[in-house]
């Protein structure tokens, strides 16, 4: 169905493309900068100032250094395990939970919703969390990275909102046909909410990928460190508590290595989005179910 577009709309479309292109370029630049810096000669990079448009004296030196790091590979392994198992746990708890909390038939909806939101506002803090996880016997285990973050309240609320926006008529007619609430969730609610499910998969996935704090608290064995904690060790400034003497390091090497580590640890997760993006295509799901 094509309707003649007004002149002002054409002008708008033109500027829209320009504005969005600018947003894209400005957003892309930092990643480009990091990539170019990681491919630069460490010493020459130190002398460089301002924007980078190409590597300063192309060199793979930084990647060679990163590959020598003893924990990058085990970091990948830990992160992948936590990501896959963690995502499964997230979904198993969040989807049914959100569905029940969105259902008007659930008697304790209001109470549990309040209980959930309350945890966003108040938390016991780092040491009590550590002591509880220790009491559950989870220290130094991957489960300590999965169970304490099994549900993200923010994602739960997003999911709940999506379920709540499904027209009640759909569920009602299914109930009349004798479908249980489980069937309604699996057959009607989940397919209808695919775009939101894609979003929370993305949010949970990236959250697992970027997580380091809990690993810092709960994991002792360095070979179980997730990638981001390894990355953090590379990025942080050496502790001053031990009062190290003078600097060390070849000038500049540390800088470009930092950038190389960022590239190595970021690229894989960037591949997640294009996979999920297909679910954001306008109206496909809604139409399919209704049709």
């Amino acid at each position: 169905m094509k309707i003649k577009e007004s002149k002002s709309y054409k002008v708008f479309k033109f500027f829209n493309i320009i504005v969005l292109s600018l947003v894209a370029i400005i957003s892309l630049y930092p990643m480009i900068y990091v990539l170019l810096a990681s491919l630069s000669d460490p010493t020459e990079f130190m002398k460089h100032q301002g924007l980078l448009l190409k590597p300063v004296e192309f060199s793979f030196e930084s990647y060679v250094q990163v590959s020598k790091h003893p924990f990058i590979l085990s970091g990948y392994k830990s992160t992948l395990f936590v990501l896959i198992v963690g995502l499964a746990v997230n979904m198993l708890l969040t989807l049914p939970g959100a569905f029940a909390l969105a259902s008007k038939d659930f008697k304790y909806r209001a109470l549990i919703n309040k209980m959930v939101v309350f945890t966003m506002l108040f938390s016991g803090g780092m040491v009590p969390l550590f002591l509880t996880v220790k009491a559950y016997g989870l220290l130094d285990s991957y489960w300590a990275l999965i169970l304490p973050v099994a549900v993200n309240t923010f994602n739960l609320i997003i999911m709940r909102t999506a379920f709540a926006s499904i027209p009640p008529s759909l569920a009602e007619s299914a109930t009349l046909d004798g479908a249980s609430e489980l069937v309604i969730m699996l057959k009607i609610a989940l397919p209808l909410c695919m775009p939101t499910i894609a979003v929370i998969i993305l949010y949970y996935g990236v959250q697992h990928w970027n997580a380091w704090f809990h690993a810092m608290l709960f994991i002792k064995t360095k070979t179980k460190y997730p990638l981001q904690l390894v990355l953090r060790e590379v990025l942080v400034v050496e502790d001053t508590t031990s009062m190290t003497i003078g600097g060390d390091d070849t000038v500049g090497l540390a800088e470009t290595v930092k950038y190389a580590v960022i590239i190595v640890s970021t690229l894989p997760i960037l591949t997640l989005y294009p996979f999920l993006q297909r679910y954001f295509v306008k109206g496909v799901m809604v139409g399919a179910v209704k049709g």
Binding site: M31, L93, D105, N113, P128, L147, S165, P195, Q277
Partner: protein, 314 residues
């Protein structure tokens, strides 16, 4: 032991509802049970830690063995010489984020929605969320270097008649730099949720509007925005629920003693005082103050929202 008691009490409230309701909606109970258990185990049980706010906490004596000192930590926090100026800075930065940074992803999502070319749309979308993935240390390092008196951004602004200066040394510019860079970091990532909400808008509505001769602008106002309003309201409520939490990491990476007057916020004050010196009592008390204020604001805005838009957090 304490733990077990609490657990059974909580679980009990779920497991023994009036029987009829349980039979009828047994699936709903099964669905929500793991969730409730999770929240009890990993959120409510560790909350005994809040007691620290009322104690002179000594780690070796534990939370239940340290001496109780009432509201001393709170008084200490409120009567510190910087409490009010830092509270003001926190509110200024937070409100600026709410006004400028919160709507930005919504606008981006709406603009992307008007793009017909699928390729252009998905490429722009993918690129726009990249800054989210770059570590804060690196992002702030770039901001610092680009806003120096000979930095790239300063050079650009000088062309528009801006005075050449080291921008981060100027207390008056701090909030702008903080907010603008926040938009840059979060616009793409935060737009994902709105983009997904837009996919749920019924396309037939647009077709009907086209037939009625509605302009594009009218369609946005009357169809698109109302359709994603619940998402916007929920996001807004969540944002209000953390209004006093301005992340200290970015503040600390960007500020310096010269800009304390506008840049130092409650969180960085607590960080310097509480976390670096491991004064747990003080930092827990300060955190609790934040939580209480946030809760009050959230309850209020949730009430307003329930009345006005029928969308609510609970």
């Amino acid at each position: 032991m304490e733990v077990k008691n609490k657990l059974s009490r909580r679980a009990g409230s779920v497991a023994t509802p009036p029987f009829a309701d349980f039979i009828r909606h047994k699936w709903l109970y099964f669905m929500v049970a793991p969730l409730v258990i999770y929240y009890i185990l990993f959120h409510y049980i560790p909350m005994f830690g809040l007691l620290v706010a009322f104690e002179r906490y000594v780690p070796s004596k534990g939370i239940f063995g340290s001496s109780f000192i009432g509201f001393e930590n709170f008084i200490d926090f409120f009567t510190g010489p910087f409490f009010f100026s830092r509270l003001r800075n926190t509110v200024v930065i937070s409100l600026s984020l709410l006004i400028f940074s919160f709507p930005a992803p919504i606008i981006l999502a709406l603009l992307l929605n008007e793009i017909k070319s699928k390729a252009f749309r998905s490429v722009t979308q993918t690129l726009s969320y990249l800054p989210h993935f770059i570590s804060l240390t690196v992002v702030c390092g770039m901001i610092r270097s680009f806003t120096m008196d000979n930095g790239v951004i300063t050079d650009l602004l000088v062309n528009f008649g801006f005075e050449r200066q080291s921008m981060l040394s100027n207390p008056d510019l701090f909030v702008s730099i903080y907010v603008i860079s926040d938009i840059w970091q979060t616009i793409g990532w935060n737009s994902i949720i709105y983009i997904s909400a837009l996919t749920a808008v019924d396309q037939e509505l647009y077709e009907a509007a086209n037939i009625d001769g509605a302009t594009k602008w009218q369609q946005v106002i009357h169809i698109t925005l109302p359709s994603i309003a619940p998402t916007i309201v929920i996001m807004l409520l969540l944002r209000i629920g953390s209004i006093l939490n301005v992340g200290y990491e970015k503040i600390i990476l960007l500020y310096n003693p010269l800009t304390y007057d506008t840049a130092d916020v409650l969180q960085s004050l607590i960080y310097r005082r509480g976390l670096q010196e491991f004064d747990w009592g003080y930092s827990t008390a300060a955190g609790m103050f934040n939580s209480v204020v946030n809760t009050a604001l959230l309850i209020l805005s949730n009430k307003i929202s329930t009345k006005v838009s029928e969308t609510a957090l609970w």
